[in-house]
Subunit: 312 residues, 2 copies
């Protein structure tokens, strides 16, 4: 963070126009449910050549953002990119403070279209050398492990979450039975990636890559991970693990499944139960194929779109 401060002195404003004027690189660091509103409010103020990085995009962030900007301001030429995960390990502290515990060693990033990724990295690596190139935004979007780890254990622990019981989210909250559901969800995610010809990791491979823990099934692998040992659980039914990770993570994954013809029964059950519970239509409000701007595309057209920015 200091590194950035040395280069660009603070300027705080609540005017989107003022915030982005003359900036070559715009980094959006918010929960993914804010991306739509941010895209709408900045679309008319963007300047040709600007780069917007969603840090992170969750699933489909760049596609949703790009679609909104194009609709509102068809003439503008900007590049939207998404990080695979948030580059910071941080937590909010009080109303207006954030504590950054650390910066991740490496985070992949892709532009939409992916032929712009080198250009984006050239710019962003000046400040964050940790970012590396992903193949395209499908790769960054599909490796959203939060979609596996967040909504489902929250649902299966909703009783104690809503009672504000104090428990360890991963270690106590992901029991063997719940881990079985996570394995099924992960199978569905990996199958979608395969159909899209996008390289991904199973959640267990990801746990090995990120935390160097390895065991025979998801449950015992999670139990081994010391980083998870003290992570507490959310304390309200409207936890971001559901309100962000159903519409912005699990739904767009299931929607990509629909596009490629992979059945996602377990994802669908979780999405629909969360919708019932929160009295929301997450399928309509969330990142469905239409909001991603890719409805009616074939798999080939989608691949061409994320790589070249056009299906024609």
């Amino acid at each position: 963070m200091l590194q950035v401060l040395e280069r660009s002195p603070f300027h705080i404003t609540d005017s989107v126009e003022e915030a982005i004027e003359g900036c070559k690189l715009i980094m959006v660091v918010t929960p993914a449910f804010a991306h739509e509103e941010i895209a709408r409010s900045c679309a008319r103020h963007l300047e040709d050549g600007q780069i917007i990085v969603l840090n992170p995009g969750r699933t489909g962030g760049a596609m949703e953002f790009y679609k909104i900007v194009r609709e509102i301001n068809p003439e503008i030429r900007v590049t939207v990119a998404e990080a695979q995960t948030l580059i910071y390990a941080c937590r909010r502290k009080g109303e207006s403070e954030v504590v950054i515990h650390g910066t991740k060693k490496t985070v992949s990033l892709a532009a939409l279209p992916s032929r712009e990724t080198p250009k984006v990295l050239e710019e962003v690596n000046k400040y964050y050398p940790q970012f590396t190139a992903a193949e395209n935004v499908l790769e960054t979007s599909l490796l959203n492990i939060g979609a596996i780890f967040h909504p489902t254990p929250s649902l299966f622990n909703m009783g104690r979450i809503e009672c504000q019981d104090d428990f360890k989210y991963y270690i106590e909250g992901i029991t063997p039975s719940i881990a079985k559901i996570l394995e099924r969800l992960d199978d569905e995610r990996v199958r979608i990636a395969k159909m899209l010809d996008v390289k991904t990791l199973t959640t267990r491979e990801w746990l090995k890559a990120v935390y160097d823990v390895e065991n025979e099934d998801m449950y015992s692998t999670i139990q081994m991970n010391e980083v998870y040992a003290n992570i507490g659980a959310p304390k309200e039914a409207n936890t971001r693990y559901i309100t962000e990770d159903i519409p912005m993570s699990l739904l767009p994954l299931a929607e990509l499944g629909r596009l490629v013809g992979v059945l996602t029964p377990t994802m669908d059950e979780i999405i629909d139960l969360a919708s019932t519970m929160h009295n929301k239509n997450y399928r309509k409000e969330g990142r469905n194929l239409s909001k991603l701007g890719i409805d009616n595309m074939t798999v080939d057209e989608l691949t061409r779109y994320v790589d070249e920015g056009s299906i024609n």
Copy 2:
């Protein structure tokens, strides 16, 4: 219980044949998942005119039992009946003891076919005057409130159930968000009853009728019920609230919905998630329309079947 003991001295046997020989009235008091096995083991030993009462039947107990007996022993003429709920309030104590805390004041019962209900009541009321006539086995089956109260809160509290955490099942386990799912399940159940022209109670009406508690929604009504205040939660993932109440309660309800053309998306999500979690095919193992012997029936045929015992 004493009442029964005075009339019929104890005789304990592990031979089904010996147990039922010469008995006019056979009462089966087991979890519903044992009904299939009991039907199979007694089918060849039954005698014309015997009455079998499932206490209770859960959903579809009499239909499943009757179908198995007919298949194995087509010539036999017996009457199968089901109680709407267990007539006792009791708990197992240790390996071989049951403590009966009380006997319910009134429990409805129906024979299959329902024209036999008066004959069954005449016999059973000698020992249990509490049994009263239900319209037919659809009424007793559809008023299975355990289907609403058991599997869903168990799933949404699976984390702490599997951790063997001590919590109050109803009061702490059914939080406002979870109660919303229960309301949706109950709507589906009531809609099925309506399509079958069977009188039923909503769960809130049932809480009023049984416990005299009344409030504006399911959550606050449950919170008011002092009888629920101290009921603890199960302590294992394989709780009977799921292993009995998915295949023998919620599944046959959803299957009846399918027969009458009522969509049951919330029931289906719970059934399928429980199947994934327990690595079981509850749709195949449980009381589906085929096991109930009513697949391919129209609504009219089903009504005729439960009332007259035949669809011809």
